[in-house]
Symmetry: C2
Subunit: 132 residues, 2 copies
Amino acid sequence: MTFALHPRLEADTFFIADWPLCRVLLMNDARYPWLILVPRRGGITELMDLAADDRILLTDEIARAGGIVRGRPGVTKVNVGALGNLVPQLHVHVLGRYPGDPAWPGPVWGHGQAVSYETSARDALIAAVRSL
Amino acid sequence: MTFALHPRLEADTFFIADWPLCRVLLMNDARYPWLILVPRRGGITELMDLAADDRILLTDEIARAGGIVRGRPGVTKVNVGALGNLVPQLHVHVLGRYPGDPAWPGPVWGHGQAVSYETSARDALIAAVRSL
């Protein structure tokens, strides 16, 4: 089965890069530095359905994304989640948190309304992630 | 730094087993089949701070736990999360979800009040996990 990004992910994010396994996306929510990793494999909904080699790649890429969001200003904690209750295509959220952020200390998913990026801030962040 | 379970995890869970990397715990919330994996390494708060070999083990154990919760009655989706906003010790939630569960389709963390297990149900579930 070929890889195609789920329309909901397509609508809610901006493309950053393709890493060895995953398409790396920026969530269009300026409240948090928020990356989404989507393994470029068709028809996968659960982590445990990835091949063992792909699971290792995914883990490396989660760690890489975690290092990037941890390096953003103010971030004190990284949150990682693979839920998929609304979008079944396997995707992993990797985002930076800090005490006092809008959803702190709760999870970000389903909390409040996303705040869209201004174009210049979005482009600067995408460029920063690509440079790492 | 030696491993010691965070008191909050100790209070909220039951011991199931020690796998090669992780202590495996049952969350004391009968609303969901909910395992927590805690790498038995001291002083680690983020996935990316685990050694590369440990990250591979953790990924294997997440997949193993995911297979177990997916096999529980009614489960249609597995949620995996490493948040740590309240309990900094690295721990990974692996739990089973289904449309119509109390928090569906939102995340379980911070949603409603935990429902404690009856002793017999708890012991049966722990025994079932240990047998897999």
